[in-house]
Amino acid sequence: MAEEKKLFKVTIDNITIEVEPGTTILNAARKIGGEVAPPAMCYYSTLKGSGGKCRTCLVEVAAGSTADPRPMPKLVASCRTNVMDGMIVKNITSEKALDARKGIVEFLLINHPLDCPICDQAGECYLQDLSYEHGEEGTRYEFKRRTFEKHDIGPYIQLHMTRCILCYRCVYVADQLTQKREHGILDRGDQSEIATYIHKALENDFIGNVIDVCPVGALTDKTFRFKNRVWFLKPQDAHRDCPKCSGRVTLWNRGDEVFRVTARKDQWGEVQEFICNECRFEKKKTADWVIEGPTRISRHSVISQGHYVDTVEPRETLPAVMGGRKPKLLMDINNVSEVNRPGIDLSEIQGPAHSMDFDSENIKP
């Protein structure tokens, strides 16, 4: 007889949901979606052991559980902390968490080269997004940025160690997807680096996936290097019969030309199915693939840039989160516009709106 599973109630930023025991705060927040989900630079749900390192997903736990409602003394890494029944979590409603996150962004950037103009990751870089959404303007760092000796890790993958934020995702990929890991984190502290030690090319059928899991431009596709900016390309879902992997990929086209092939990613930027090196690096002709259609791209992404009709609208959760209050930063349009006075619902106006529609007699009380 199947026992009915007791679900845990957790409240994150004033929104309560029920999740299965064993769910992390981050995954519970992702269920709510939108801004409530903390950013995650190192956690990767499909990579065992990942998470906890970058500290961008820190949240405040205002109440541990119904049984023990004491707040947790420190901010916790939401990706590695399981929810408890009755837990109350504050993410974007916690000044403490937002301040800490600003600090983390600053720490991640002090030694980052900020070479976005020549970085192939630009436009799909999670550090760019993170800095834009959570960082502060300017830097207070006045020292020479860290550099590393260059390592060539083979014909397919380009390593830029200066851009690395040491999320360890690529190490987990090599550990969990390939038979024999050849690269790792060497040295320690602020000198830690990704390397093979023996200047060796990474060789494995699935090692190319390190490119997709890398949140920044530390590991990029050498076959795509400097070929194009991602926002000039058109992503399309495609597949082929591949003996090694599922063969389900995203093609990045310009016209008929395939500039690069990546795995398909979900709304959190995580690869759905890892693909093999052959699909990624060798199949650069449209004829190699069966095109399924345009890839759905988040409306907020620079890649969407108005090219596509089929963009995904992120769920706007701010009003719910703020307990009905309007976010301070957003302008109250009614105060500045005669047009959008309360009582006029633009969506109910048939056809194009005219000045007539805004005459006072047409406004519902």
Binding site: G51, G52, K53, C54, R55, T56, L58, P73, K74, L75, A77, R80, D99, A100, K102, G103, I104, E106, F107, L108, I110, N111, R140, Y141, F143, I165, L166, I185, D187, R188, G189, D190, Q191, S192
Partner: protein, 453 residues
């Protein structure tokens, strides 16, 4: 003369050898524990004793023991943390070097209490000659029937092995230590799960400091309640203090936690006063991680009471006006010392020892070091002080393990109490390269506390 429980016999000629140690009453606690007590009774005695972890955090040892999970068929382990690396701390080294059998004895009793048949001593790699001393002691204990199979006919088996580290302060953090014991890089684990549930090789594990485990011996011999009568409040028993810096008699001292800081520094029994007739400027009372205090706040609490060498009194006033007992590394600075430079060396230490796993510590420790170096070498700016404050604030509490806090606190406390010295450095870039700020007003009497209404 304070009561001695651990170092009482340290001066006995040849105490390092088994025969002398045994003749002086060694291994009696094993006999008592194995013949008269059950493992749970031992844990109870340790609980009653109020013994707090001597490694730095001060967590009640008996409670830690009681948390150990006991799943069926899964071995449990005791690991002795001898990775003593906190600047200012060298007490465990003294204990292991001079009376190694005391640690072995404590380990046997504790292993029996916890059900560990395979116990490790994780010792810092640099203490290489101590490894030989311990291995000899383990060999002697084994050949005399205190280790091995069926000890004292109880059916209890135990092996103790030494695991040599290789130079990493972070391995003193218990989960990093366990990673290192598994043959990996010493990266602290994210808790939970705690070692008591999933420790080394995913087995329930207790990690205790050398001094903590040695203290189990007197606790068993005299009983937990008797032990708890020594000291005061929640600071029970005796504590080893390693005193260093500008004092006449640096060394390791055993104190019962009732003597005042002033007596400890100035009495001939302990530090013997400040060296070369100088004046006391500042002190870090519990190892480099704990807040530094100026002389006036060190000797008396903000309330105007005498500060005592125990957990409660040293932390009286919180971080704003107090410090911590920490690991008992007592670093004394005289009037000629430069707090900026000292803080810089500590920042360099923490940058060097950061494992690099999580971003605030990896990036923040290096940043603080660079700024402090600038200030120290006369290249600082006034805004650097506030920047330093902001950096340490954003490291503290936001890291995986306490190394972030340990790196942040010394900087915070130095700025809090010695801000004028930092400012002087910045405003007098040339002069600060030739002379130090000196004692300034750091030893001036505190303003009398306002009586609570």
């Amino acid at each position: 003369m304070g009561r001695k429980l651990l170092l009482e016999k340290a001066q006995v000629e040849g105490i390092r050898n088994y025969d002398v140690y045994r003749r002086e009453g060694g291994y009696r606690s094993v006999e008592k524990a194995f013949k008269e007590m059950s493992p749970d009774q031992i844990t109870d005695e340790v609980k009653k004793s109020g013994l707090r972890g001597r490694g730095g955090a001060g967590f009640p040892a008996g409670m830690k023991w009681s948390f150990i999970a006991k799943p069926e068929g899964v071995p449990r382990h005791l690991v002795c943390n001898a990775d003593e690396s906190e600047p200012g701390t060298f007490k465990d080294r003294f204990l292991m070097e001079f009376i190694p059998h005391l640690l072995i004895e404590g380990l046997i009793v504790s292993s029996y209490a916890l059900g560990s048949h395979l116990t490790y001593i994780y010792i810092r790699g640099e203490y290489s000659w101590i490894i030989d001393i311990l291995e000899t002691a383990i060999g002697e204990a084994k050949s005399n029937g205190w280790l091995g199979e069926n000890i004292l006919g109880t059916g209890f088996n135990l092996e103790i092995y030494i695991h040599r580290g290789a130079g990493a302060y972070i391995c003193g953090e218990e989960t990093a230590l366990l990673e290192s014991l598994e043959g990996k890089r010493g990266l602290p684990r994210i808790k939970p799960p705690f070692p008591a549930v999933k420790g080394v090789w995913d087995r329930p594990t207790v990690v205790n400091n050398v001094e903590t485990l040695a203290a189990v011996v007197p606790i068993i011999l005299m009983g937990g309640e008797e032990y708890a009568k020594i000291g005061v409040g929640k600071s029970t028993g005796t504590k080893l203090i390693s005193a260093c810096g500008n004092i006449n008699k640096p060394g390791v001292y055993e104190i019962d936690m009732t003597i005042s800081v002033e007596d400890f520094i100035y009495s001939d029994e302990y530090c013997g006063g400040i060296a070369n007739g100088k004046k006391l400027k500042a002190c870090i009372p519990g190892g480099s991680s704990v807040p530094i205090l100026p002389a006036n706040l060190l000797l008396k609490t903000a309330k105007g009471e005498k500060r005592i060498m125990n957990y409660e009194s040293l932390s009286d006033g919180g971080f704003a006006k107090g410090s911590m007992m920490g690991s008992g590394g007592f670093i004394v600075l005289d009037e000629d010392q430069c707090v900026v430079k000292h803080t810089y060396t500590l920042a360099r230490f923490y940058r060097h020892e950061s494992c690099g796993q999580c971003s605030p510590c990896r990036e923040g420790t290096g940043w603080m070091e660079k700024i402090l170096k600038n200030i120290e070498t006369g290249k600082g700016k006034m805004s650097d002080i506030d920047l330093l404050w902001d950096i340490q604030r954003r490291i503290e509490g936001n890291t995986i393990c306490p190394l972030g806090d340990a790196a942040a606190w010394p900087v915070a406390a130095a700025i809090r109490h010695f801000r004028d010295e930092f400012e002087w450095h910045i405003l007098n870039p040339e002069e600060s390269q030739i002379r130090n700020y000196g004692l300034a007003h750091y030893a001036d009497p505190l303003e009398p506390a306002v009586a609570a209404v």
